[in-house]
């Protein structure tokens, strides 16, 4: 019973969404289920928060190694939540000035916008920027032009990289007009428009087929792995 009810809930919800795309009569169910889905997904953040608090509080109470970082995480979490939910420092919407909570949650000058601008953005964008070094380092160690496939990958990467920079223009800018197609910036565009389009299109079609097949397996009750161990048919 513990597996049967969830399976049927998934089947009914899934087919309601599917039918709503084909039968106008069932459109209402699709829209309503979509609304419910977005609310449940938003409430799921609370689950994530609970899990975060549970793990970090356990670490702090056990005085595990690095428990101080857990305390910082919890403090930052609580502070951001407090200023965000309370719209601290958010001026009211000029149209509805009598309502103190009518302003935009991330209005300029608010505490939430301050955290976003000086905490979230610097850390996340620097973390992504760090990948430039690691990708380059990994590529230097792993990429070897051993066969035709590797040569194609490497040369395409170089052409795209150089073609999008001033160096590419300088290196091949002297090519005569009749060979202008071979200039790195033009070659880069041609690769993106032709070869990259073809490859990506095939990958997208493959993904679409895979997602559709997996979704159908769930809706037909064939795939129950999402229910955890022992859920497989």
């Amino acid at each position: 019973m513990r597996r049967l009810i969830p399976m049927w809930i998934a089947i009914i919800a899934g087919f309601a969404m599917l039918f709503s795309a084909f039968f106008p009569v069932t459109e209402f169910f699709g829209e309503t289920f979509g609304e419910i889905f977005s609310v449940v997904a938003a409430i799921a953040y609370v689950l994530g928060a609970g899990s975060l608090a549970k793990i970090n509080l356990a670490k702090i109470s056990r005085r595990d190694q690095g428990w101080g970082y857990s305390a910082i995480t919890l403090f930052c979490f609580a502070a951001t939540l407090f200023v965000g939910l309370g719209k601290i420092g958010v001026p009211p919407n000029a149209q509805f000035a009598a309502l103190p909570w009518s302003g935009e949650k991330n209005a300029e000058g608010s505490a939430f916008a301050w955290i976003y601008e000086y905490g979230l953005v610097p850390i996340t964008s620097t973390m992504f920027a760090l990948l430039a070094f690691y990708v380059a380092s990994a590529a230097f160690r792993a990429f070897r032009a051993k066969n035709l496939e590797a040569i194609l990958l490497l040369s395409t990467a170089f052409i795209v990289l150089l073609g999008r920079t001033f160096a590419g223009v300088v290196l091949t800018g002297w090519f005569p007009d009749w060979a202008s197609g071979l200039r790195l910036e033009n070659l880069s565009v041609y690769i993106m428009q032709v070869f990259n389009t073809a490859g990506n299109r095939a990958i997208i079609i493959g993904i679409a087929l895979g997602v559709t097949a997996t979704s159908l397996r769930i809706l037909l009750g064939v795939d129950r792995s999402w229910m955890g161990s022992g859920g497989n048919s």
Partner: protein
């Protein structure tokens, strides 16, 4: 390296950067704001079944909008005693904090260290709460509370939110129930019942994905592949030109052949031998070119982000560069010696 030594290195880097900047003079790392006072006369609202009503009142508030240093220099030059454009201490502190976080993350290139772990701990807490807040104000308030507590929402947050129909109110109570059930996951005894909400999420996602992927990916991409293999290109005079026609036709042929060959490579129900094998091999070449292009693009994107972070450090924080002319010297010189104090 011990944690204390790591801290010393990070602090030394910051002190060195600040020291170099200070030795040049001209100030650094300040954020200026402009004070905007707003006064709104609010009319009285009559009491209705949806609204408790409110008396006429005057609402005042002050907003501080960020401005470029130029504006501060100009304002000071005009009137040194002015208080409209001023230095913002909270934002200046935030700028320095942002610079510290940026350097702390970059310090990971050397090795894991307390500075990096501090920034990591901060971002875990902040980002978790950030998305919760976004979900609360964008979804929970207008949809859930707007459905089950409409009067409260229009009286406090969204006065223009339309009254929900009865079906939506029922649906939102259902959503609240499912959300409550989902939170049972945190309990050791009632965790099994949270599977009901999970099942709803899985089912809706599966149903949505089938429609969206078939519609926008499978069909749209297949249709886009049906291209004319001979594509005449007319010039400015309307006459078909040979060169562009050959290039355009070749591009279409290469795309059609490429998609078919790549799909052949993905098709594992037939052994890759003979014609199928050769087509699959061509497919691999296409995929390698695609991966190479994706790699190049990824590196370009990351380098662009890196450039943005370096610009933040050298422009916004250290004031060593000024590509946008935010601190123009002529303006500064005209404004006098107070500028760089």
């Amino acid at each position: 390296m011990s944690p204390s030594k790591s801290w010393i290195v990070i602090i030394a880097v910051i002190v060195a950067l600040v020291g170099i900047r200070l030795s040049i003079g001209q100030g650094m790392g300040k954020v200026y704001v402009e004070q905007v006072d707003t006064v709104v006369e609010v009319e009285a609202v009559a009491k209705t079944k949806d609204h408790d009503g409110s008396p006429a009142q005057t609402v005042k508030w002050t907003q501080f909008n960020g401005v470029e240093p130029n504006k501060y220099y100009a304002a000071q030059a005009t009137n040194p005693a002015q208080t409209v454009v001023t230095l913002s201490w909270p934002r200046t502190f935030g700028l320095w904090l942002g610079a510290f976080f940026t350097l702390a993350i970059f310090s990971f290139m050397y090795r894991d260290n307390p500075g990096y772990r501090l920034a990591e701990a901060v971002i875990i807490g902040v980002s978790a709460a950030y998305w919760m807040v976004i979900g609360f104000w964008d979804v929970v308030v207008p949809k859930l509370f707007g459905g089950i507590a409409h009067g409260f929402v229009i009286a406090n947050v969204l006065p223009t939110l339309p009254a929900p129909p009865t079906e939506q109110v029922i649906a939102m109570w259902f959503a609240l129930g499912l959300g409550g059930i989902l939170l049972m996951r945190l309990s050791s005894k009632g965790a099994w019942i949270s599977m009901w909400s999970l099942a709803f999420i899985i089912g809706v996602t599966a149903g949505l994905k089938i429609v969206s992927h078939v519609e926008s990916d499978l069909i749209a991409q297949s249709v886009a592949t049906f291209k004319p293999l001979i594509s005449p290109q007319a010039g400015a005079t309307g006459v078909i030109e040979l060169g562009p026609t050959v290039w355009a036709s070749l591009a279409n042929i290469l795309i059609v052949v490429g998609v078919l060959c790549c799909l052949t490579y993905f098709f594992f129900s037939v052994e890759h031998k003979g014609v199928v094998g050769r087509a699959a091999r061509v497919g691999i070449w296409y995929l390698m070119i695609t991966f190479g292009a994706a790699f190049g693009f990824t590196v370009m994107g990351r380098v662009a982000l890196l450039a943005a972070r370096v610009e933040f450090l050298f422009d916004d924080w250290l004031w060593l560069i000024d590509p946008a002319g935010k601190r123009v010297v002529e303006v500064a010189a005209a404004a006098g010696s107070f500028l760089f104090q």
